[in-house]
Symmetry: C2
Subunit: 307 residues, 2 copies
């Protein structure tokens, strides 16, 4: 998979190959390409298109990560330095564009207009979600409903696209593809909730990101949204002020404590669990198989992972 990914990014422009090499060397979970292939396998025999779909999804994902890191001024990505921490912002903005474009070139080789439609609308939802998050994060407050809209766009859309694309490269059965779409959407929501939880639970060494990074960046996620609901107005805004004024190390620690004390972690973990149940239910249309079993296990992994 890594080699396919690297080959697809080749260019006569040297720096592009250098950055591509940097990318292939990074540790990644390859969660999305695996999801494409398992979803495809669930529907029948994989085709050459299935592997292309897996590679192009990983490219699209990487393209957005590169831009997200620019937007978030992130210094660490997958346990290594982020592109923007090495090359400043200019090269990463263009490199993200390049990888996205190569992802689409590969998509056009699938010779499926449905695939293009899914990818382009996914791509629109992802940037819309990121914009929305950026704008909302400047506001004092964010509701649970707004949070779900954002994570649906920025994360679940792509994970749902993985599952649909895997299916499309194998079958034309609309019911199956709709089931995969729904499975992916739920899985994606739970994935992001867990990701946000790991900002408090994760150990730095394992997760590859510093603990409390979201809080430090003024980003309010589900655990904090829930915790803030449990206290009175004045306490609420005292906490929000801490988060919004570029929290220092001890502020971050006290906000994390506040979240734990007010059930924010437990609530979010329960929420993720119930969404994973819905995801699993969406797979009921498929007969039992090792591939279905693998997808169900992957759903549990999303809940229980520590990175």
């Amino acid at each position: 998979m890594k080699q396919v990914f690297y080959n697809l990014l080749q260019s006569e422009v040297k720096i592009i190959n250098i950055i591509a090499k940097h990318y292939v060397r990074q540790k990644g979970k390859w969660f999305r390409p695996v999801l494409v292939l398992l979803s495809g396998r669930l529907c029948g025999e994989l085709t050459a298109e299935s592997y292309k779909a897996a590679a192009l999804i990983e490219m699209l994902h990487n393209a957005t990560l590169i831009h997200d890191d620019v937007v978030d001024d992130a210094t660490v990505r997958r346990g290594g330095p982020s592109l923007n921490s090495i090359w400043k912002n200019k090269i990463p903005v263009l490199m993200g564009d390049y990888i996205l474009a190569r992802s689409l070139t590969t998509a056009s080789e699938l010779e499926s207009l449905k695939a293009i439609e899914i990818l382009s609308s996914t791509s629109a939802r992802m940037s819309q979600g990121e914009i929305s998050q950026l704008v909302k994060s400047r506001k004092k407050d964010i509701t649970e409903e707004e949070y779900f809209q954002i994570i649906s766009d920025k994360t679940a859309a792509l994970i749902s696209a993985c599952c649909q694309l895997g299916g499309i490269t194998v079958t034309k059965d609309i019911e199956k593809i709709a089931a995969l779409e729904s499975f992916g959407e739920k899985l994606g929501l739970a994935f992001q909730i867990k990701d946000d939880l790991l900002d408090f639970q994760g150990e730095e060494k394992v997760f590859g990101k510093k603990k409390g990074t979201d809080i430090k960046n003024g980003k309010i996620t589900l655990p904090l949204i829930h915790a803030l609901k449990q206290v009175d107005r004045s306490k609420k805004y005292r906490v929000i002020r801490k988060v919004k004024k570029k929290a220092n190390r001890s502020d971050v620690k006290s906000v994390i404590q506040f979240i734990f004390d007010n059930g924010g972690v437990e609530y979010s973990q329960n929420k993720a669990e119930s969404i994973i149940k819905e995801a699993k239910n969406a797979l009921e249309v498929f007969p039992d198989s090792v591939y279905k079993k693998a997808l169900l296990e992957l759903s549990d992994y999303v809940l229980n992972r520590n990175k």
Copy 2:
């Protein structure tokens, strides 16, 4: 056209609509959508797809302009403030991604895999060209050959895509589409050479950009490349040093004078003229018509425009 463009960008995220409005208000030449429609009309009756193609090309163009302005730290765009001068870099990076994605959603509505193939490879060439320009601009020297590779990717690719897309929405005649592709590529090369010339020739009020901006940004374009060939090594590196060390107002003036004195402007204007001749020749496969005449006139406009 402006209304179509605005409608296609609509989103439930408020800031996206605010930025879209900002865009529609800007003065633009609408050169590329006009080119799509004229190229289509040259092949027969326009279809609903022709207009969609025109709008999506303008969107794609704007998406790349937004990212280019971030990369170049540009403050002015089309006589108004650039997005990054209003919203810093974060929103524009994501807004560029969003507009690009909406451009692709519209492309998928053309229901033509060929169109998708053209757009994705164009998009890859554009970012590759920009990356190459950024890397090369850090080097002391750049050859005329490298210059042509860069402008072919960053500018001619899209203008060629305009012409091809216009044709594709009207006809399946491969010969005609190949002729349009070649016409567009040449027109695009001349367009960029002229654009680079306008950095020296243009009056600030008309062009909407400050004179000598490229030199100030350390960007070496054809007029300077040619002028540098006319002098000895030591003079050459004295001039390059001026350009590379963030030239001040008087440095810029002296470099512009150097370019004029060494025939850089004349050479580039001649080069653009001969390329425009080749472009016009590419249209020979088409019988005479008002649309052909308009495209030939547009080719002359590219050469003679003052903005």
